[in-house]
C-alpha cells in the first residue's frame, strides 16, 4: 500500500529524480566549517516560524506594541520561549551568516565558478543585517526607540540627499507610528521575501555547482 502510494506520487512529483540529483550525489570530503551555510538556512526558517507566532499577538502601533509584547511574555503559553528564541536567534543568525561568509572567503570559494553564489550571499548578508535593524524597533521600548532614532539619523549626515533618506526611513521628520508600521512591513514582508527567494537561488547554485573542496597546497 505504502509502496503503491509512493509510486503514485513519484510518478507525478519525480521524487526519485530529486533524490538522485540532490541527495544521492557525490561531494568532496569537507570539514565542519561547511555546515555554517545550512545552519544559516535553518536559523532563517526558525526565525520565520517563531516570527509567525509572534505576529499572532504583536500589534504594530506605538500605543499597543509595547503592551502586546508584555502580553506575549507573560500572558501567552510559551510566549517567552518563542520570543526568547526569536530574540537570540537574530543575533546568532548574524554571527553564523558572517562566519559562513568568512569561511567561503578563507577557502577562496567565491572564485570561478561560484562568483554568482557569492554575489547572492552578499545580498543575503545585507538583508540579514536589515532584519536585525528593522526588528530592533518593534518592541517599542526605550532601547528600541532611541537606537532607531540615532540609527535613522546617521544617513541624515550624507551631503544633499541625507535628510531625504532619513525622512524616507522614518516616514516623517520624527520617529512615529508611521515609522513603526514601515519597519514592521519591511521586517515581516519585504526582507523575508527577498531572503527566502535568494536562499533558493543560493542553494540552487550550490547544488548545481557542487560544494567546493577544501583547497590543498596545489590549489
Amino acid at each position: 500500500m505504502a509502496n503503491k502510494a509512493f509510486a503514485w506520487l513519484d510518478e507525478r512529483l519525480g521524487l526519485t529524480t530529486i533524490y538522485n540529483v540532490v541527495l544521492d550525489r557525490k561531494v568532496p570530503k569537507v570539514n565542519w566549517w561547511f555546515t555554517l551555510g545550512s545552519a544559516s538556512a535553518i536559523l532563517f526558517l526558525l526565525q520565520g516560524v517563531t516570527g509567525m507566532f509572534l505576529a499572532v499577538y504583536y500589534v504594530p502601533s506605538p500605543q499597543s506594541a509595547y503592551d502586546s509584547i508584555q502580553f506575549i511574555m507573560n500572558g501567552v503559553a510559551f510566549g517567552w520561549l518563542i520570543r526568547g528564541i526569536h530574540h537570540w536567534g537574530a543575533s546568532l543568525m548574524v554571527i553564523v551568516v558572517f562566519l559562513h561568509m568568512l569561511r567561503t572567503f578563507y577557502y577562496g570559494a567565491y572564485k570561478y565558478p561560484r562568483e554568482f553564489t557569492w554575489l547572492t550571499g552578499v545580498v543575503l548578508l545585507l538583508c540579514t543585517l536589515g532584519m536585525g535593524f528593522t526588528g530592533y524597533l518593534l518592541p517599542w521600548n526605550q532601547r528600541a526607540y532611541w537606537a532607531t532614532t540615532v540609527g535613522t539619523e546617521l544617513p541624515g549626515t550624507v551631503p544633499l540627499i541625507g535628510p531625504f533618506i532619513t525622512n524616507v526611513l522614518r516616514g516623517g521628520a520624527e520617529l512615529s507610528a508611521v515609522t513603526l508600521t514601515r519597519f514592521f512591513a519591511v521586517h515581516i514582508w519585504f526582507l523575508p521575501a527577498v531572503i527566502g527567494a535568494l536562499i533558493g537561488v543560493h542553494i540552487y547554485m550550490v547544488v548545481k555547482l557542487g560544494i567546493s573542496s577544501v583547497p590543498d597546497r596545489e590549489d
Binding site: S38, Y66, K111, Y112, L129, W140, S213
Partner: protein
Amino acid sequence: MDDEQKQRYLEKYKQAKQQGVKFFPDIIYKDLLVSFALFIILVMLATFVGVANEPKADPSDSSYIPRPEWYFLFLFEMLKFFPGQIEWVGTIVVPTVAILALFLLPFLDRKPARYPGKRWRAIGVMGVVVLAMIALTIRAVITTPPQVEAETVATTLSESILIGQDLYSINCVECHGPDGEGGIIEGVEGLEGYDMKSISAQDEMYTRTDDTLFNVINYGQPDLGMQPFGIAYGGELSIGEIETIVDFMRYTWDDRAELPQEVTQASAMPTLGEDQVPSYDVHIEPLVKRYCISCHRPGKKNNNYLMQSYEEVMNTGDHAPNVIPGDLASNLIRMLHREEIDAGGPMPPTKALKPEIIAIFERWVLGGAPQTPEEAAAAGTVVTGTLTAPQTTAIPTP
C-alpha cells in the same frame, strides 16, 4: 582565470568529488547536527538568560543613552573617528566602499589560487578588517557609560541645592562666574573675550522654566560655545546631578523662590576671628572650590596649576610654587590683586574677588598657609605677635 586554468580546476574538482562522500547521509548528518546544537543553544538562552525587560519608549526622555544592537556597535564606534563636518565619510563613504568591495571581490581577485597560504594578501586585509570590527565593538562596550536611571542624588531640597552649588562651581564658573553674572570671558579656550550675558538676572530667571534650564545644561548650547553636560550627550553629569544644579540656580538666583534656612547656614562662610589664621581645610578650600576650581582642574587651560587639594594648591603649576608661606608676593596673592605677572594675568580672570575674600587668602599665606585648623591655631599666635596691626587693615584693597 583563463580557459585552460578553468578547465584544470574543473578537472581537479571532478576528482575531488569522486574521492568524496555522498551528500546524503554524510553531509546532511553533519549539517543537522550543527543546526540542532544551535537550536539547543537558543532554547537555553531563551530559558536561562531570557530577554531583558525594558521600559516603554518615552520620546520625551532624551537622556536615555541610545544603544544599537551589538552587531552595529562597531559602526557607531567608527563614526567617532569622523567628527563634525566629515561625519558623512563615516556614515556613507566607508560603508559603501566596504560593501562594494565585498560585492566586487570575485572580480577584483581573479587569480586562480585558492589555498589560503597563497592568498596571504587577501586574507590579511580581511583579517585586519575583522579584527578592527572586533576591536571597535569592544571599545564601544567599554566606553558606553552605564544607563543612568533618573536616580535621586539628594533626598532633601536643601541637600540638592548644596550639591548643585558645588557642581555649578566646578562645571560652570569658568564661563558664567560664581554668581552667574557673566562678563567678558577670559582664560577659557574658544570663548576668549566673549561677552557673556548674565544667567542669574531677574529677566533670565523669570523667563526660563526649570525644564528649560535642565535642557540647556543637558544639551548645552553647542552653537554658542557651551558643551553638553548630560551623560547622554557626552558630558559628565547624570540627570539627578543636573536637577541639583537647576535647584541651586532657581533657589539662589530667582527672587521669587526662598532659599531654605538650612542652605543659608550651610553655605555661609565659616566664621573667622579678627586675628585668627584661616586654615586650608576650613576656610580656603570652600573659596577655591567656588571661585577657582572650575578652571584649575585637569583638562583646562591653567598653566597646569591644579587646585583640587592642599598638595596641588601648594605644589603644582608651571610657575610653582604659587603659594609661598609667609610671602605676600606669592603669585597667587599678586594675581588676586589683579597684577599682570609672569605666571599670568589677574585671577580669577573675569572679575576681581571681593576684598574681604582676598583678605582671607592673604591672612592664610601670611600665617604660613596651614592645612588643618590645628596647624592654623598653632600658627595664629605667631602671626599676631609679629604684626602690629590686625591683618585686615594692613591689606591694601584693590
